[in-house]
């Protein structure tokens, strides 16, 4: 048995496998299939200050080895989460990451203030349209990333901050540095790639929102490259994600520089994806005589 523990910002994870935001709810549904307490962590469904109903349906489409979603941040609101879901989630003994989103910088401030000290991490979803910059996402430009990171950080006295980076940008490494300089304790990447699938019989996009976020196995090589670039560029820890479906995929991300990984779409393909990945990482380490999974972080050597 290898030691799968990993530590990020002083928070100890029993293993590096985290359920990615939006694919695991607040953990309750998966817990009907297996004890979610065995996971390294859970990143909550994106939380907003007020409850949100989200986008019209259809909210999902499929391509080869990828899916697209446009759920539109349907969630019960941060207060409901704190009152109804957080106590249960904390009782499971897994690391709790509250994923948060806002329409304005002030939204991010207020929501972080409410969560400070209550959760193990706050993860900023900065791929939402910024109302004040004509709807361009906060996560596109380094300046807005820095502004929203600084604001969130000012509201978080106790809880470490993860900034979740969008890949739909000019340079994800420059954006990661902007988050780091503004006080981010950690970055996670990649969020989804914006895409579209057209139903050619109807000559309309399949998803009601027209575009959706592309995720799943098909994006993995791009995500690995981005994690590598970001890990090289920043000193803060990196959490990697993007198409992880197997233990080998997770190990690839760790070699690229990730201290932990998030698993999203694979939970839809196989409900036991995360426990299988954890078991598989253990077996891989044993086969390769790796005593601690952290030995692998950033060990890839360029040709």
């Amino acid at each position: 048995m290898a030691d799968l523990r990993t530590t990020i910002c002083g928070v100890s994870f029993q293993n590096p496998v985290i359920g990615a935001s939006g694919t695991v709810g607040f953990g309750r549904e998966l817990d009907e299939f297996y004890d979610v307490g065995q996971l390294g962590g859970i990143s909550s469904k994106g939380l907003t200050l007020e409850k949100r109903l989200g986008n019209p349906t259809p909210r999902i489409a499929e391509g080869r080895s990828v899916i697209l979603n446009a759920v539109g941040l349907q969630n019960p609101g941060v207060d409901h989460f704190i009152e109804k879901d957080l106590p249960w989630l904390k009782s499971k003994g897994t690391v709790v990451i509250a994923n948060v989103a806002g329409k304005t910088v002030e939204d991010y401030h207020d929501i972080c203030e409410k969560l400070d000290g209550l959760v193990d991490f706050v993860e900023l979803n900065i791929s939402c349209p910024n109302v004040r910059s004509g709807g361009m996402a906060f996560g596109i430009r380094p300046e807005t990333i820095a502004e929203v990171t600084r604001t969130a950080k000012s509201a978080l006295g106790k809880t470490p901050l993860i900034v979740k980076l969008s890949p739909n940008v000019e340079s994800i490494a420059i954006n990661a540095c902007a988050a780091e300089s503004a006080g981010a304790d950690c970055v996670s990447l990649v969020n989804t790639f914006t895409g579209m699938v057209i139903d050619i019989e109807r000559r309309r996009p399949v998803i009601a929102n027209n575009t959706g976020g592309v995720s799943g196995e098909g994006i993995k090589p791009i995500a690995v490259r981005m994690v590598y670039e970001v890990a090289k560029a920043v000193k803060i820890p990196v959490i990697g994600m993007g198409g992880i479906a197997t233990a080998e995929d997770a190990i690839e991300f760790m070699m690229a520089g990730a201290f932990a990984v998030q698993v999203g779409t694979a939970n839809f393909t196989n409900v036991y994806a995360m426990p299988n990945i954890i078991a598989g990482m253990n077996a891989w380490c044993d086969r390769h005589k790796i005593k601690s999974i952290t030995e692998l972080v950033g060990t890839v050597r360029m040709n």
């Binding site: 709810g25 998966l30 109903l53 989200g54 349906t57 999902i60 979603n69 098909g218 839809f268 393909t269």
Partner: protein, 254 residues
């Protein structure tokens, strides 16, 4: 409720472009399966990451049968699978059609592929008087007529009048309907059909409880991802996979 590897026992075309796929299920899991629930079934195509939600049509102590119309890449892949092939199945999912012990006279209204979950009701409950109002596109689309006839009184219609009356399932039901004739009404079919039923129920002041089974593109199938929501009349959203797929006809905006 769990995800398992299942072996295909049969996968055959039972009407034009409509397939019935039967797979083996361990008996403890088969016992859990209730009428009107669904299965999330992989397509056997490696590059399709999503399973397909398919309503339970029939079940035995050791098998479950789901039916599907070949429509997109997923169902096209599925119809190529052969006896002995292994798929992943997550089951049983959703709430299903529930009959209370005192509900004895039951109307089943099914349009097209919507008839399949209703067969699971007719075959899954004993000691009831079922009437099945079944509507199909045309003669070639008709399936499970004998199976419905064994368990219920059947009123049949087709859109082109090639067999039975030239009427859809809702029209057949409404012509036949008298207040008090049924204790409960179950319906499944295309959205336009359910909408027509909802409107008729409202206009005619039908007091009999009426439940509909909905369809929506799904992600996880277990209620975690919030992809497959429907609009409730109270302004809230419900998850079709977890809170449904069966809803009271008055609580959903169709």
């Amino acid at each position: 409720m769990r995800e398992i590897k299942v072996e295909i026992l049969e996968n055959k075309e039972i009407a034009e472009n409509i397939y019935a796929l039967t797979f083996s299920v361990p008996s403890d899991l088969a016992k859990e399966v209730r009428p009107g629930q669904f299965v999330n079934l992989s397509t056997g195509e490696q590059n399709l990451l999503l399973k397909r939600p398919l309503g339970v049509c029939r079940k035995t102590d050791s098998s479950v049968t789901v039916c599907y119309q070949v429509k997109g890449v997923g169902t096209r892949a599925l119809c190529l699978r052969k006896r002995g092939d292994v798929l992943s199945a997550l089951l049983p999912l959703g709430n299903g059609f529930y009959l209370k012990p005192e509900e004895k006279k039951v109307a089943l209204i099914g349009g097209g592929v919507g008839v399949f979950p209703l067969l699971s009701v007719a075959e899954g409950y004993q000691g009831r008087a079922f009437t099945s109002y079944l509507g199909f596109r045309n003669q070639n689309a008709i399936c499970f007529l004998n199976e419905f006839a064994e368990r219920s009184r059947v009123v049949l219609g087709t859109d082109d009048g090639s067999v039975g009356e030239k009427k859809n399932a809702v029209q057949l039901f409404l012509e036949d309907y008298e207040e008090g004739a049924f204790d409960v009404i179950f319906a499944c079919g295309p959205p336009v059909m359910l909408k027509a039923l909802q409107q008729a129920v409202k206009e005619r002041g039908v007091k009999t409880p009426c439940f509909v089974s909905l369809e929506e593109r799904m992600g996880c199938g277990i209620g975690a991802c919030l992809v497959c929501v429907c609009n409730l009349t109270n302004g809230e959203h419900a998850r079709v996979c977890k809170d449904g797929p069966v809803f009271s006809i008055g609580e959903v905006n169709l």
